[in-house]
């Protein structure tokens, strides 16, 4: 299996090397922006190089290319990357989508009604899994409906223009399109662990820069607390990064359940908790295999490394 040498992790004096940390425009990653913006990382004596992507696929490419030390991804993306590079490990649970992602429909009373309907969704693992979870309730699969491959924004537009009956999308498209398109949210990630976002790093980095990572997550933890407390300045920092107002960040975050260090310790990697990340990963790996996105079945245990979180 291919091993990508990670330049920044193999260098001798790890302390002098900034940690290259990458996120994308998902609102759940606001804690990263707050940690950067409020100098929480440097407060921990850590140099962090902040990379920001507008699309998950570019971020995945950069990570696999060894240009990133610590990456914030959806668990679906991680499963795909780990299939290519098994040294990639999940070390922290950022959030669960908690209503921020969902499915809107027009005249859909129950999952049974979806049969034969036209559904717009993006061909991305977490959206496929979300739709699968909904259809499964009525024993349906994607084969029983007409799928239109559209990015979440375009799916929203298509629903608003009544070109499709059902659309899988996220906020703010979710509520806006439902309103204009004369429909309602028929399924969402509220109170589920269907869509999880995590932080990953490679084995080598986890070993060589353990202290740095600990400092890193201490800073993130502070940021999460600020956000959860609705700190005005923190929201504003996140908003600036995402191109929205502090108020909008706050609204958006209502559809996201952010995890701090404690809940990471207690929930995230706890096999016994039905809402743990393990459950999410199992579903994701299963979906990925079903959808032929990965060729080999994967051990969920090989996907994460809770040593950093546990050591703190």
């Amino acid at each position: 299996s291919p091993q990508v040498t990670n330049n920044s992790s193999n260098k001798s004096s790890p302390q002098s090397q900034p940690l290259v940390s990458a996120t994308n425009n998902w609102v759940g990653y606001s804690s990263h922006h707050v940690a950067v913006g409020k100098n929480l990382f440097s407060g921990e004596g850590l140099k962090v190089k902040d990379l920001f992507f507008q699309s998950g696929s570019e971020e995945m490419t950069a990570f696999l290319a060894g240009k990133i030390d610590v990456g914030w991804f959806s668990s679906g993306n991680v499963v795909q990357m780990a299939a290519k590079d098994p040294s990639i490990k999940i070390i922290y649970l950022v959030d669960y989508s908690n209503g921020s992602d969902g499915i809107i429909g027009r005249g859909i009373k129950s999952p049974q009604d979806a049969k034969g309907k036209t559904i717009a969704r993006e061909n991305i693992l977490f959206e496929k899994i979300l739709l699968q979870a909904y259809l499964q309730k009525a024993g349906l699969t994607e084969k029983d409906v007409v799928i239109k491959d559209l990015s979440a924004p375009d799916a929203g537009a298509a629903f608003a223009a009544k070109k499709v009956d059902i659309a899988v999308t996220y906020e703010p498209y979710l509520s806006q399109s439902a309103k204009i398109g004369g429909g309602e949210v028929i399924f969402s990630t509220k109170d589920t662990n269907l869509i999880a976002d995590v932080v990953i790093a490679r084995d080598s980095l986890i070993k060589s820069r353990k202290t740095d990572l600990q400092a890193y997550f201490r800073a993130v933890d502070k940021a999460v607390d600020l956000l959860n407390a609705g700190d005005e300045e923190a929201l504003k920092i996140a908003g600036t990064k995402l191109g929205i107002t502090a108020k909008e960040v706050k609204e958006q975050l209502q559809g996201v359940k952010l995890f701090d260090l404690d809940s990471n310790k207690s929930v995230a990697f706890n096999k016994d908790d039905p809402k743990s990340l393990i459950g999410n990963l199992k579903a994701t790996v299963k979906g990925a295999k079903e959808f032929n996105i990965i060729s080999q079945p994967m051990e969920v245990e090989s996907l994460y490394d809770d040593s950093i979180v546990k050591s703190m």
Binding site: L51, F53, E58, A65, A161, L242, G243, I244
Partner: protein, 284 residues
């Protein structure tokens, strides 16, 4: 050869065909400056009016097509709060850098292809295949080799344009008459001289046209380029605003790119005219 059977009972006052004078439809004749300005004005105002009409009549949901006024407001706010000026500067620099590199590589390549059949044979297969390939497909390789900084963004823009430069310049060189090359030979020119003293000056107006056509291509690739770990730029702003359904911002950025384009187009046309005083002035 004498088998024809012409009977021409020429009706005495034969009907002759005249060219009726026309201002609007004049071909390469004088054209009043005021009419030109009027038409340009119409061309700019009519789409704006259409847009206003469509958006005010709610033919399209306003979140997907806000009114021009809303877009204008969003723009003013972006300039005031989001430091849009920086985005404009950053994006323009990227486009310019990519475009200059594409010119430095593409134009000589095109000249070489148009001039030498050997180099045409050598480059045509590459130009003929790579030109068709979507640049997005190469983004991973670019990231690996050039990393996430400016060079990869510039390379993406460059790749999108360079082969178009080459093929269009090569096509332009074809139209230089053989006689011009022959004259140079009889005056003692080497092939090198022919390239520098005949082919380059002869193709110069077309090279300028080519660059004017293709600089818009460079702007088209900006969005793709700024997908790669950007912190700013107009393309970045467009994608960012799209993510949160800020259509007014998206449209403002697009319109801004359009205005930049218009300035570039008219500017390059003006420069073209200055640089080639010898060319037939066709208009005015």
């Amino acid at each position: 050869m004498a088998n024809s059977s012409l009977k021409i009972p020429q009706p005495s006052p034969r009907k002759y065909l005249y060219l009726p004078p026309s201002v609007f439809w004049s071909i390469r004749q004088e054209f009043p400056k005021w009419l030109s300005l009027l038409l340009v004005g119409i061309a700019l105002i009519v789409p704006l009016l259409l847009w206003t009409a469509i958006s005010s009549l709610n033919l399209v949901p306003p979140i997907f097509l806000p009114t021009p006024a809303a877009v204008m407001n969003a723009g003013i706010k972006m300039f005031a709060e989001d430091n849009l000026t920086l985005d404009v500067i950053v994006s323009s620099t990227r486009v310019l850098a990519g475009f200059i590199v594409a010119g430095i590589i593409g134009v000589p390549m095109g000249l070489a292809m148009g001039t030498f059949y050997s180099l045409d044979s050598l480059f045509a297969p590459i130009v003929g295949t790579v030109r068709y390939m979507p640049v997005t497909g190469f983004v991973p390789l670019i990231v690996i080799w050039l990393g996430l900084e400016e060079p990869s963004k510039i390379l993406i823009i460059m790749l999108g344009v360079v082969l178009y430069n080459a093929i269009m310049v090569a096509d332009a060189v074809k139209f230089i008459p053989n006689e011009m090359i022959n004259v140079a030979y009889t005056l003692g020119a080497t092939r090198r001289d022919v390239v520098f003293k005949v082919i380059i000056p002869g193709a110069f107006p077309s090279i300028l046209d080519t660059l004017r056509v293709n600089i818009s291509g460079a702007w088209n690739f900006l969005v793709i380029a700024e997908l790669v770990a950007s912190q700013n730029g107009l393309g970045f702003k467009i994608i960012q605003a799209q993510r949160f359904l800020q259509t007014d911002k998206v449209l403002f950025c697009i319109a801004l790119i359009g205005v930049i384009g218009l300035v570039i187009d008219y500017g390059l046309k003006w420069i073209s005219q200055r640089l080639t005083p010898w060319a037939d002035q066709i208009h005015h």
